[in-house]
């Protein structure tokens, strides 16, 4: 089987597993919605755009860490050994990243929808803000997938996940907050090309290093 087929097959397997149990998906969706609601009850209403923007990204950060942590931990040792014998490590990591991107896109759409519903909508350029959120969820997925692979090898994976991923995600988060703030203020879209360029560059770096390093992480 070539790489592309393997990836397709593994993604289908991930989606099917998720669909069969549904508890993880529903759990994480409920997590986002209730976090937004807790924030709403704590803040009541937010009038300053920077706070609105920052709070949204903090909610996204915690939700995505929670959503992606399980992507390697949930696989049992025996099942991992089975994959090891039938597929290449590149196929595994690519399929995990793509699956997590789907998951994060779904998550971010729901989070943004609910967030703008309960808090007053302050967006100047909603379409461009939505684009920033989609770019952000792709970046989160690509970084956290590899980190969750690293954390899953250690004891206390859940706690380690936050420690390992936060410093690595901060550069992305800084750029994302700036980009989405530009969109929020309704600045001309050409103002933000620099940020988009940096985000795409970081994503390419992260995905290539993941592809190169995952085979070493994989063999046990």
């Amino acid at each position: 089987m070539d790489l592309l087929n393997q990836v397709k097959f593994l993604i289908r397997k991930e989606i099917m597993l998720e669909w069969r149990s549904k508890y993880a998906l529903n759990g994480i969706l409920l997590y986002v919605v209730s976090t937004v609601f807790v924030c709403y009850l704590a803040f009541r209403d937010i009038t300053s755009p920077p706070t609105w923007n920052a709070l949204f990204w903090i909610i996204m950060l915690f939700a995505s860490v929670n959503a992606i942590t399980k992507s390697f931990i949930q696989e049992s040792k025996g099942r991992q050994l089975y994959y090891y014998t039938i597929t290449s490590p590149q196929a595994i990591i690519i399929s995990k990243i793509i699956y997590n991107i789907f998951l994060m896109l779904l998550l971010s759409v729901i989070a943004l929808g609910f967030y703008t519903l309960v808090f007053k909508n302050l967006l100047g350029d909603p379409l461009f803000y939505f684009f920033a959120v989609l770019l952000g969820s792709i970046s989160f997925a690509s970084v956290f997938t590899m980190i969750s692979g690293i954390a899953s090898k250690a004891n206390n994976a859940g706690g380690l996940m936050a420690i390992l991923s936060f410093p690595v995600i901060i550069p992305l988060l800084v750029v994302l907050i700036k980009l989405s703030k530009n969109a929020m203020d309704g600045l001309d879209r050409s103002e933000s090309y620099d940020e988009i360029g940096v985000l795409i560059a970081i994503n390419i770096i992260v995905i290539t290093t993941s592809l190169l390093l995952f085979p070493y992480l994989w063999k046990d």
């Binding site: 420690i163 550069p171 940020e195």
Partner: protein, 221 residues
């Protein structure tokens, strides 16, 4: 003697930069005044940190290819020394900032980036502690080290240049390069940078040898 000349050179250069840094004539600039002498201490810390963390990165790559325990030891010890130099750089910078910018922590993008870079390497150490088995520990922490390094480069060299900064060379401040530095400072500054880089390598090799001896002792017992 043949092998140790660079250690003597390091000692001489650092001693020279301390004496000359405090005694030589410096240009009197507004705001900076005499605090400009700190450039001989603050900036070399960062040079040393970048060099020694690059060493750590290279040894992590070597460890993945060789699975030789010594490469892993070198990677972790250079990360340790890099963290020490990073902390020293932050402290000297904070003292300097207190006198020139008014506050020790001025929300400057470079200050923030440097603090985050330190968090990455502290996380690397925590990751090591949480793994018991040696081979596995070496491999997984090497993977994290290699994964985090390019992001740290983005953090330290690209992001601060995109926003306004109080540091020279960013956001319209006079650049920190060979053209802008006052000529009186150069004869002290360059030797200081080289001297501190050599000192950091020296400390790393000593730490590495201590760890190797400890390992051998553990084997015998």
């Amino acid at each position: 003697m043949n092998k140790n000349w660079w250690k003597i050179l390091a000692t001489v250069l650092v001693l020279y930069s301390i004496i000359a840094g405090f005694l030589f004539h410096v240009p009197a600039k507004p705001i900076l005044n005499e605090t400009i002498r700190n450039i001989h201490f603050h900036v070399p810390m960062w040079f040393a940190m970048i060099v020694i963390l690059t060493v750590s990165f290279i040894y992590s790559i070597r460890y993945l290819n060789s699975a030789n325990e010594n490469d892993d030891l070198m990677a972790v010890e250079s990360a340790n020394v890099g963290i020490i130099f990073g902390i020293l750089g932050l402290v000297t910078g904070a003292v300097w900032a207190k006198y020139t910018w008014g506050e020790a922590w001025s929300n400057d993008p470079k200050q923030n980036s440097a603090a985050i870079a330190l968090l990455v390497y502290l996380a690397y150490l925590v990751l090591r502690n949480s793994l018991e088995e040696e081979q596995k520990r070496g491999r997984i922490s090497a993977v994290y080290n290699i994964f985090a390094f390019p992001i740290m480069v983005v953090l330290l060299f690209i992001l601060p240049r995109m926003t306004d900064s109080l540091h020279p060379g960013n956001g319209g401040n006079p650049g920190f390069n060979t053209k802008d530095m006052a000529p009186e400072l150069r004869p002290v500054f360059y030797p200081a940078v080289l001297g501190w880089i050599l000192i950091s390598v020296w400390i790393t090799t000593i730490r590495y040898r201590i760890r190797k001896l400890e390992n051998r002792q553990n084997l015998i017992n």
